[in-house]
Symmetry: C2
Subunit: 359 residues, 2 copies
Amino acid sequence: MRIAVTYHVRAEAAEIAARAQGIAVEQSVEMPLDAIDEPAVLRDIVGAVQDISDLGDGRFAVRIGLAVSTLGDDPGQVLNMLFGNTSLQEDVTLADVDLPATILAAYARPRHHLPELRSKMSARSRALTASALKPQGLPAARLGMLSERLALGGLDFIKDDHGLANQTYSRYADRISHCAAGIRRAIRHTGHHTQYIPSVTGDLDQMRAQARLARDEGLSSLMVAPMISGFPAVQRLVREFPDMTIFAHPSMGGLRIAPDLLIGKLFPLIGADAVIFPSYGGRFGYSQATCRRLAAHARAFGALPVPAGGMTLARTGEILDFYGPDTMLLIGGNLLLARDRIPEEAAAFTRAVAAHAYR
Amino acid sequence: MRIAVTYHVRAEAAEIAARAQGIAVEQSVEMPLDAIDEPAVLRDIVGAVQDISDLGDGRFAVRIGLAVSTLGDDPGQVLNMLFGNTSLQEDVTLADVDLPATILAAYARPRHHLPELRSKMSARSRALTASALKPQGLPAARLGMLSERLALGGLDFIKDDHGLANQTYSRYADRISHCAAGIRRAIRHTGHHTQYIPSVTGDLDQMRAQARLARDEGLSSLMVAPMISGFPAVQRLVREFPDMTIFAHPSMGGLRIAPDLLIGKLFPLIGADAVIFPSYGGRFGYSQATCRRLAAHARAFGALPVPAGGMTLARTGEILDFYGPDTMLLIGGNLLLARDRIPEEAAAFTRAVAAHAYR
């Protein structure tokens, strides 16, 4: 069974068929098809180009059928298989995906619908109203006073600014206690059941602890930022707190971060010892300058650069000259093309690296 | 104390100063400065434009000083404060950040450096070598045989393809057992201590369980994809498994996903009951067509659309006509501009929504 995924691709008309096929392979088996000797993989797993249509202005819509079985029930894997590596190609946008009912059943999905929310607010048919607690930097008590004053206007929901986390000037526990109390005071005046929505952040354990504190305060809503917390953490939280209405914030909904910064500095910041990245000259579009900076940043951090993404045995010498010996060189699909000579091809690779005389 | 963050912005020369100031506000307090009555926030928290330089071709480098205190020690908050909302503006790229030593100390950072890895591989000064297990779709036993054949070539590291997760055709536990065994068999031939790097996926609990299984198999490396698992989960894993060498995979390192898909379909998929998004006509560039599709997708999923991002009381009627009553309308900073009349302004907002006669 396959799901239909639509990508928008900037390309020349003469090359769009090859680009579409490239995406179909990248988002499924990620290796040369000639190196696959299992018919079931070729038939059931390799992505299939279903349609290509011209959108004008040098853009094309490409529809690809991806095997449902590669997704499993992990929401992180949904992102990975829909757009993981292809996200590194600047001229491709993930435009749409058809999610059939059999897929939907594996994921959490909304549980608190509009009629329930309207009923809690005694709002028969009107739109609901909300505001936000700001600015970043106020102490918890001040945010509590602000929440009271906003709630006095009869708003339905008051949410944390998404910048409010667990900073020293306004700890989460302190903040939600003050804000929940402020809103309770306002409710005694207005009679309207304004709800406070705290923003929960950090890793899954921290989010759980924050959600429990919110429940202990009598709150029934939480805000999360899925692109920061990670899809897997959000879905787990949703399942563990089914009583909570979940608001999703779009923070980090775009990701145009210079690769040398993201991969060379920010991944090591959180503890990566080695960073894999698509080298210049492979299937991705990173320039030599980007790759040089990325490797330098990583090394400055004490992390090992691992250029990859379409490297070949024939290019070993050139790549080693470019990156130098303080590098791990990763050749994937190209080694597998050797099929029944894989050990020999891998040995040729290791010999080439060991014997290389740097220019 | 501030860190210097550099953004590349496409803009007209006449507007770049205002754009720079807009980013400085968006990435700090995210509200009109006129609505802030706390001098310490204006002085210490609001982002400060430090430099603007012309890169040519209509692009500018903008350096902004952001308050270190807003970052705390949560790596998710690092992404949030560096680029969270501004990532939604298509003409801005996060280009660089200076991470002073005082900041670095709060995060995990690499712990297994190149000399240690070289020593394990008896590689005095050469580059290290690696390959990858593919394709997606092979059963665990076949991947195990492939790992043996690759290792017979004397490679240093063999990693899982990043598409291998915990799919039914190749469960994680089964896979790492077969692959670790295959590599042990090869080591008996080669005498070279090839290491297997399994890819760990899912939420923090699942990643922990997978990392423990890897350790039980005698493995000492793990691969993670920080943009999928989330920075907070990766850092937590790094800290709990200090003996493991961590490889970071760049999957999802770019995020050009159509907003109506990401926010309207994928956030509800993982359980968001309500989705907050920057409406057309505010501080962000989403078109009316995008917003209409986004709201329709969300409702089809049973999730509530929450347009926000620069909405004003004066526009309430227009926004309600556009989105209809099955909506939550969020006005943040604009209500706060009323300062000592916040309750009255909030009340005017709630009355306007309750009394609105739809066209």
